[in-house]
Symmetry: C2
Subunit: 112 residues, 2 copies
DNA sequence: TATCATACTTGGTTATTCTAAGTATGTACT
DNA sequence: AGTACATACTTAGAATAACCAAGTATGATA
């Protein structure tokens, strides 16, 4: 068992993936590499977390998949964000900001 | 089943409780009310989340409990943070900031 | 008498993350 | 030829924490 079970707090992966897909449609592997790059390698996007997350979000209609060819000529499943996915992104963004704000208020309090 | 399963991202409750206990020892109910107040009611601290969290943290040695009397003369279990708890708080604070920073980098990216 | 606030407990459900192992293909090195 | 590595996806199983719901018990208030 890992030291810190959750490297990523439950719920944030969807947010990151949805946001990444607003930039352009991409396949899973590329999403993972891109997110790691964008976070300056602060986060590792585990494949065992990412792919199931993609399947769940596809099932919920937030993203759509299409098989195609990767930059290197391999078969790869390309995902794009749907209209419903953008709505969901907005909700999750909102939620993230609320939590961030609330936690920030507590952490900045030096006595109470 | 709730609309948004996780109101609080998994892992943040410990952080909030540990931080709250650095202000003063308090009983569970008071911790909940105080955190809600401090977050301007942005977060609801559910009793079914809080009390199990207190038991877990006590079992891990991060906090200590002692039965006493509440402000209103009722019996209540007062928790205080231990030395080990302060170390844990520091780790979790660090982790929270890393995640926050990383997610922020992604959310602020407009194309990639 | 009924309701509400205080204070704690606990059982069961759920979602999500993670580790780990696997499939398959192509390239680069020795 | 053989090995290793990067790309790309899949899936089983374990672990965890947050949540709802229901309960105990007490005192104050209407």
């Amino acid at each position: 068992m890992p030291d810190f079970f959750l490297d990523l707090p439950q719920g944030t992966l969807d947010l990151l993936v949805l946001k990444a897909l607003t930039w352009a449609p991409r396949h899973g592997y590329a999403i993972a590499r891109l997110l790691e790059e964008r976070t300056g390698d602060r986060l590792r996007i585990e494949e065992g977390s990412l792919y199931p997350a993609l399947y769940r979000m596809e099932a919920k209609g937030w993203i759509e998949a299409e098989w195609g060819e990767s930059e290197l000529g391999r078969k790869a499943k390309f995902y794009s964000i749907t209209r419903e996915g953008r709505k969901q992104l907005k909700r999750q963004l909102n939620h993230w900001e609320t939590v961030q704000d609330a936690v920030g208020r507590v952490l900045r309090t030096e006595n109470a």
